[in-house]
């Protein structure tokens, strides 16, 4: 018989990244109105079209209602009680990393993201975002040699305005949903990636998001454009300190893949999840969408979601180009009073498009873990295929696992397959492992790791290691 308490102890591990960096920051006053938006825009010295984009989004947001269809239970958010812009104070222009506040570098070092030249991870370029602004981007010169643009979105607005004007808001329009509209109105920073025609990005690109202030919302925006026959692998990681209050994180990610281009977007999300009583934690309301515009283009989302008090996230693919491919690989782990409502949308518009969905949910404690996904075959998607697999694992009898797949087909010459299953950690397998001398904790961790293997295999090397580490941290503490 599995000792329930033992399993529960295993999943109760403290949050390692909960420290606060004591640094002087520049904040604007709380609240949200047109003046605040103008102020953010002014601080970032933005062109008129971007201010117009923000104001239009704000007008739309004012007319929208907060969505409640996911049935997530949380206290009403007071949008006037949030600071929409916070930046660490530093010299105006940074020419090299040496000028970045050492405290900031130390913070990222502590998080395992070394930014200093000596300690840079080999072959991964990092854009580090602290509260509302990007503080440093590494390997820029090296990337520039290949024509790859990798910088913060604020810099891109200044230096590559034409690309921003052409693509911003084309995948996730400002009026898409409540949180996307809010982000469009107040987004502060984020990453911008442009891979020119025929270039395979020489290294993995990575963004690291850190929330430091308790009363600041983080609204970053990421835009990745892969031109014809190019390819890129992008990684994203996030952490936040422990506060008793809930912090709002409403990001928008837009990906565009043209003919034969491929984008791989991987996330390891480890925002602070709140304590055992559910006090504090990040509200992670994110809109991520990729557009496979070109023929034979490919967008692949992989995510490991372990943090946040509430996750509301559906990375999606619009498959427009002929023979384009969309993929979604996800592991979501919830514990205590966490709620995760995550999944994907695969919208097949062009002919012969293909999509694969593999989702693994693990719920422990009193948490709620839901998969919610949409697969749609449009009238022109002849010869298209989809395969979805959603598995849930329950640890303890208080956790809940839900599956809500929406499947819609308007094309007779297409195929959709969906399967889902729910199970618990098998007592037989546990017994077997233990009889071979493997500690209980390790056995549980091995089984969870095995359950998630299909997804971990899709993660880039560095991330697979980090993901394993994360699950280990959540599940057993000692492994890794």
């Amino acid at each position: 018989m599995v000792n329930e308490n033992l399993v529960k102890d295993v999943v109760k591990k403290p949050y390692k990244y909960g420290f606060v960096t004591d640094i002087e920051t520049e904040k604007i006053s709380k609240g949200l109105n047109e003046d605040i938006i103008r102020l953010i825009s002014e601080k970032k010295e933005e062109p008129q079209y971007l201010l117009d984009f923000r104001l239009k989004a704000f007008k739309k947001w004012q007319k929208m209602d907060e969505p409640d269809w996911a049935g997530l239970g949380y206290k009403q958010i007071d949008y006037q009680d949030i600071i929409y812009y916070s930046a660490p104070k530093q010299k105006e222009k940074i020419s090299s990393l040496d000028e970045v506040d050492p405290k900031l570098l130390e913070t990222f070092d502590k998080l395992g993201i070394p930014l200093t030249e000596q300690k840079k991870l080999t072959n991964v370029a990092v854009d580090a975002v602290f509260d509302s602004v990007s503080i440093a981007t590494t390997f820029r010169d090296e990337l520039a040699k290949h024509g790859v643009i990798f910088c913060s979105i604020s810099e891109a607005v200044k230096n590559h305005s034409d690309l921003i004007e052409k693509y911003l808001g084309t995948v996730v329009p400002a009026s898409d949903n409540y949180f996307a509209a809010l982000n469009s109105a107040v987004f502060s920073d984020g990453s911008f990636v442009y891979i020119p025609k025929g270039v395979t990005c020489p290294m993995d690109l990575s963004s690291y998001f850190r929330i430091n202030s308790g009363d600041t919302g983080q609204f970053e925006r990421t835009l990745i454009i892969a031109e014809e026959s190019s390819s890129v692998s992008y990684l994203e990681g996030c952490t936040a300190p422990m506060f008793d209050t809930n912090t709002l994180h409403a990001a928008v990610v837009e990906l565009i893949a043209l003919d034969d281009a491929s984008i791989k977007y991987s996330t390891v999300q480890n925002w602070y999840a709140g304590d055992e009583e559910g006090v504090g934690g990040i509200f992670n309301f994110v809109t991520k969408r990729g557009k496979c515009l070109g023929k034979r283009s490919k967008i692949s989302w992989s995510q490991v979601e372990t943090g946040s008090s509430i996750t509301w996230k559906y990375p999606s693919c619009l498959l427009l180009g002929e023979e384009s491919i969309g993929e979604f690989y996800s592991v979501a782990l919830t514990n205590n009073l966490q709620q995760a409502d995550t999944g994907t949308k695969m919208i097949h518009i062009g002919p012969k498009t293909k999509s694969t969905i593999v989702s693994k949910g693990i719920s422990a404690g009193n948490s709620i873990n839901s998969y919610r996904g949409l697969v749609k075959m449009g009238r022109k998607a002849a010869g298209s295929r989809n395969y979805s697999q959603c598995d849930s694992m329950l640890i303890g009898d208080q956790a809940s696992a839900n599956t809500f797949p929406y499947i819609k087909s308007q094309q007779s010459n297409s195929e959709i397959e969906h399967e889902a299953s729910t199970c618990r950690i098998s007592e037989d397998q546990l017994f077997y492992l233990q009889s071979r001398g493997i500690e209980f904790e390790e056995a549980v961790s091995m089984m969870v790791s095995g359950f998630c293997r299909d997804v971990f295999n899709q993660l880039p090397m560095e991330f697979a290691a980090e993901a394993d580490k994360l699950l280990a941290l959540k599940l057993e503490g000692s492994v890794g």
């Binding site: 009238r379 839900n402 819609k408 010459n413 297409s414 195929e415 397959e417 889902a420």
Partner: protein, 405 residues
């Protein structure tokens, strides 16, 4: 919507029964379901309002049942026409429920009704007069098969209600047939109570005519060790809804469901199922098939709810769909909501077309394309049809489906 207007102004029925009063009162404040709710969002609005655009008809003109009169000793009842029954012999008894028993049970049910989930029941109970209300209490063994018919009459809306109490250790085969008439709406609600150790093989065949509509709902409560098998078939309706709610009240019960809906022309037929496991060791095996052709729309939404108390539940749900035309549409949403940890639950869904390789093989053997398609379809239908009790031998449903449709 004539009916709704009358509900609002309380001019629908002169002499209201107690049940009608309660339901009309519930509907009065918001007479229509929320079109944004999960159960109604895909419903075709104009078809739905058309379905309610008839005046209520409490009379039942003589109706010739298109199915052959049975030759065996089956019991045939037509709701609203000849439903006086009292059969008591040494093995079994079939009696009508008293008004008190009926009222008590229905009131209990209404108490937990939800405006959107049970809207069809609320409407049915508001409209169904005493004459169209059949309540049966069945016990004993060696009970002959029972056939119960409900039918609509042209240019009107008919509401029929059936309540069946199946007492302990009793097993029956019941076929329920809902017949639509041209330009008509039929509201049929069925309430089943299965006591301990009882078992039912229940068949529901709903067969419409040109521009007929159907609101069909089925509420089943299963007590311990009961077994409920349902085979259902819905076809030829301009607009039809089949809402199934099954509650295993104390677990340890078995439920098997095999359902099918076939849509052609611009028809819309939807099936909604909700299976509630309220105790341990529950079992469910469900398969729902849809076939959509021409410009039609088939919908399936199935939910399985396994609360903490329902440990060791074993539930599986499969939605299989055939989309035969590029103008047709299929929506399917099987869903699982699970809190208990020691359970085995799975669901699956597929949407595809006829298998081209199989068609090709048959054609190389000299079988024409239409014949080969028919052969494939017949095997697709057969799995469901063979599960429908009584009818399978005498009424050639397969033939009806392949040739008439």
């Amino acid at each position: 919507m004539e009916i709704i207007e009358k509900i609002k102004t309380n001019k629908l029925i002169d002499k209201q029964t107690e049940i009608q009063k309660i339901c009309l009162n519930k509907l009065k404040s918001s007479p229509l379901p929320n079109p944004k709710s999960e159960l109604w969002r895909l419903s075709n609005k104009s078809k739905f309002s058309n379905c309610l655009n008839y005046s209520i008809n409490e009379k039942n003109p003589k109706y010739n049942i298109p199915f052959p009169e049975n030759s065996q000793n089956a019991i045939r009842l037509i709701i609203g026409e000849n439903c006086q029954i009292k059969l008591i012999n040494e093995n079994y008894s079939i009696q009508q429920l008293s008004e008190d028993e009926l009222n008590k049970y229905i009131k209990q049910q209404i108490a937990c009704f939800d405006q959107n989930e049970n809207w069809s029941d609320l409407l049915n109970l508001s409209l169904s007069s005493t004459k169209n209300f059949l309540g049966l209490k069945i016990n004993g063994s060696k009970i002959p098969p029972i056939e119960i018919f409900s039918h609509a009459s042209s240019n009107s809306l008919n509401a029929k209600t059936l309540v069946i109490f199946l007492e302990k250790n009793c097993a029956i085969e019941l076929l329920q047939v809902n017949l639509g008439k041209e330009n008509s709406s039929l509201s049929q609600s069925t309430f089943f109570l299965l006591e301990e150790n009882s078992s039912v093989n229940h068949g529901v065949v709903s067969y419409g005519e040109n521009r007929s509509n159907l609101l069909n709902s089925l509420n089943v409560i299963q007590q311990k060790n009961s077994e409920y098998n349902l085979g259902s078939l819905h076809f030829k309706f301009n607009y039809a809804r089949f809402e199934i709610s099954i509650k295993q009240s104390a677990g340890n019960a078995k439920t098997n469901i095999k359902g099918m809906q076939i849509t052609k022309k611009d028809e819309q037929i939807s099936t909604y199922t909700k299976i509630d496991f309220n105790g341990p060791n529950g079992f469910l095996d469900q398969i729902n098939k849809s076939l959509a052709d021409d410009k039609s729309h088939a919908i399936f939404e199935g939910s399985i709810i396994v609360p903490k108390i329902a440990q060791k539940t074993d539930a599986s749900q499969l939605s299989r769909n055939l989309l035969l035309s590029n103008l047709a549409q299929i929506d399917t949403k099987p869903q699982l909501e699970i809190i208990a940890d020691d359970v085995k639950c799975k669901h699956g869904a597929t949407i595809s077309q006829l298998n081209e390789e199989e068609l090709f093989y048959m054609r190389t053997r000299g079988i024409t394309l239409p014949e080969a398609s028919k052969l494939q379809l017949s095997s697709y239908f057969q799995e469901i049809i063979s599960f429908i009790p009584v009818s399978k031998d005498r009424w050639d449903l397969l033939d009806k489906l392949l040739n008439e449709n």
